[in-house]
């Protein structure tokens, strides 16, 4: 029997009031993988990530993480176990400084490793070191995204959920962010990556899922999905 994946989502349903946005999703992420989740606007990608983090209640299904059911845990308990999200639209603590944002990222981790992890984030994103005392809300878009990723890394993620990290960024910044994702994987972080930029995401990923109005429409290796005519036509605009 193969070892259990790091994350296993089964039959997940959730939504907003009477609107069901995720309608029975099965998804797995194995340790060390980059898995891409792509799909049109409004497909339910963000909703699915919210459910995995526990900030949105689910109505049915199961979420197992590292062999443990987590679907009834509160968000902070999931962060403590290593499920950490970089949300859509950065969601920084705008009035607080960059340094405070990063320190708060380590809220569930010991003080001892905070300084070490800060150095790691600053070496990954030197621009953040320069602007450590600036209010996060005053950063440029690219720096805000770096701060959001850095804040998540401070929590020492086992599974990093990235929701459209390249949204609204200039092309060279998009490249930089995606390179960072690849580098994080080499450092042992498992990544579930949601991207509008499906070609880039699927090229980077080991495997991918295509979400269509709350259901998984296609899944496979990144290469297979990139080569699948149905996927290409519907999502890759080619």
């Amino acid at each position: 029997m193969p070892p259990e994946p790091l994350l296993r989502v089964q039959g997940l349903r959730c939504g907003y009031g009477r609107i069901e946005a995720v309608k029975g999703v099965d998804l797995e992420v194995a340790e060390g993988e980059i898995v891409a989740l792509v799909g049109a606007n409004g497909a339910g990608k963000t909703t699915l990530l919210r459910a995995i983090s526990g900030v949105l209640p689910i109505t049915a299904g199961a979420i197992r993480f590292a062999g443990e059911p987590v679907e009834t845990m509160r968000p902070h308990e999931r962060v403590a176990r290593g499920i950490v999200q970089v949300p859509e639209g950065r969601q920084l603590f705008g009035p607080l400084t960059v340094l405070d944002n990063l320190r708060l990222g380590a809220f569930r981790r010991g003080r001892a490793r905070t300084e070490e992890n800060l150095e790691r984030v600053f070496s990954l994103f030197p621009q953040l070191a320069e602007r450590r005392d600036t209010a996060a809300g005053a950063l440029s878009g690219g720096q805000q995204q770096m701060c959001a990723i850095g804040r998540a890394l401070m929590a020492e993620p086992k599974l990093l959920l990235l929701d459209e990290p390249s949204m609204g960024l200039a092309p060279f910044l998009v490249e930089q962010i995606l390179e960072t994702v690849a580098r994080l994987r080499r450092e042992g972080v498992t990544v579930l990556l949601v991207e509008q930029n499906a070609v880039a995401a699927l090229s980077l990923a080991d495997r991918g899922y295509v979400l269509e109005t709350g259901r998984i429409a296609h899944s496979g290796t990144g290469r297979d999905l990139l080569g699948d005519p149905a996927v290409r036509e519907a999502y890759l605009g080619v």
Binding site: S53, P75, V84, L92, G94
Partner: protein, 290 residues
């Protein structure tokens, strides 16, 4: 000159209590967007529990400590039993919930205590100090010093500790706070607890001057609210400034016009702020959001 100094001190002393109530409003509002009209009841509990514990034979400092603990427990219960279950309700609903809670707390206080006015002995005697011809009660200095210590302590907590920063983070972006692993429910409970403690200390400090009864909370809540509005609700510096200013306005209105109008000042302020300065004197926006 003597009259001016006299009014100034009278105004600052009541203003300091309004400032503490306004600070309590602000703290809870920032963390949860709840406008807690039960804030005045914490001040009442501070005074009343101290009075009765003191009369029962406890030394004054212990009686005061007990009063703070009772207020904190009340604040935490208010959050747990009334605010948390109403999560997701509209702002207006939550205001009605807190008004209901304040009526309940007042009713219980009337049952447990009584309907009389009560005093506490002044902490360092009643002999007035002379300053520029004015007579200043030593208790006034206790109120001003105590309020200043609380404001400074709260500032240290919010700016210098990770837990304080977690409170500010929750205020700035609750979703993000949950995603970094802050237990936002606990943060809200903490905000209620700290607000209750601040209010209770205000009540303890001022009772030797103003006396207290089970019913003082209502008016204090309104005035603290007026002070918070004046300073721009959600802004702690504004809350303190608004409280002091409201206290001064009342004192000078009472001294120079007529004491009949004293309580009217707060309502006039609420109306003027609503019409002319909807974000208060110091507030740019009602809440900081990214």
């Amino acid at each position: 000159m003597a009259e001016l100094v006299q009014l100034l001190f009278a105004g600052l002393t009541t203003g300091a209590v309004y400032a503490l109530v306004a600070l309590g409003f602000t703290l809870i509002f920032q963390a949860s967007e709840v406008v807690n009209f039960a804030q005045g009841e914490f001040v009442m509990l501070g005074g009343m529990v101290t009075v009765f514990a003191y009369q029962a034979g406890l030394p004054l400092p212990l009686a005061a400590l007990l009063a703070v603990l009772v207020a904190v427990a009340t604040g935490v219960l208010l959050h747990r039993l009334a605010i948390e279950p109403a999560k997701g309700a509209t702002v207006v609903t939550l205001i009605i919930v807190t008004i209901g809670a304040s009526i309940l707390i007042r009713g219980l206080a009337q049952l447990v205590f009584d309907k009389q006015f009560h005093a506490l002995p002044a902490f360092s005697g009643d002999a007035p100090l002379r300053l520029l011809g004015a007579a200043i009660l030593p208790q006034s200095l206790w109120v001003l010093g105590g309020a200043a210590a609380i404001v400074f302590g709260l500032w240290l907590f919010m700016e210098r500790t990770l837990l304080g920063k977690a409170v500010r983070a929750t205020a700035a972006n609750r979703l993000a706070a949950e995603l970094v692993g802050i237990d936002t429910r606990l943060v809200l409970a903490l905000a209620f607890a700290v607000s209750a403690a601040i209010g209770a200390v205000g009540g303890i400090l001022v009772t030797p001057i103003t006396l207290t009864s089970y019913a003082v909370g209502t008016l204090l809540a309104l005035k603290g609210f007026a002070a918070a509005m004046l300073g721009g609700i959600g802004n702690p510096v504004g809350a303190v400034a608004g409280g002091l200013l409201l206290g001064l306005l009342e004192a000078f209105a009472a001294g120079w016009i007529s004491s009949t109008y004293k309580d009217g000042v707060a309502f006039l302020v609420i109306l003027l702020v609503l019409f002319a300065l909807p974000h208060g004197l110091l507030g740019r926006r009602a809440v900081e959001r990214v």
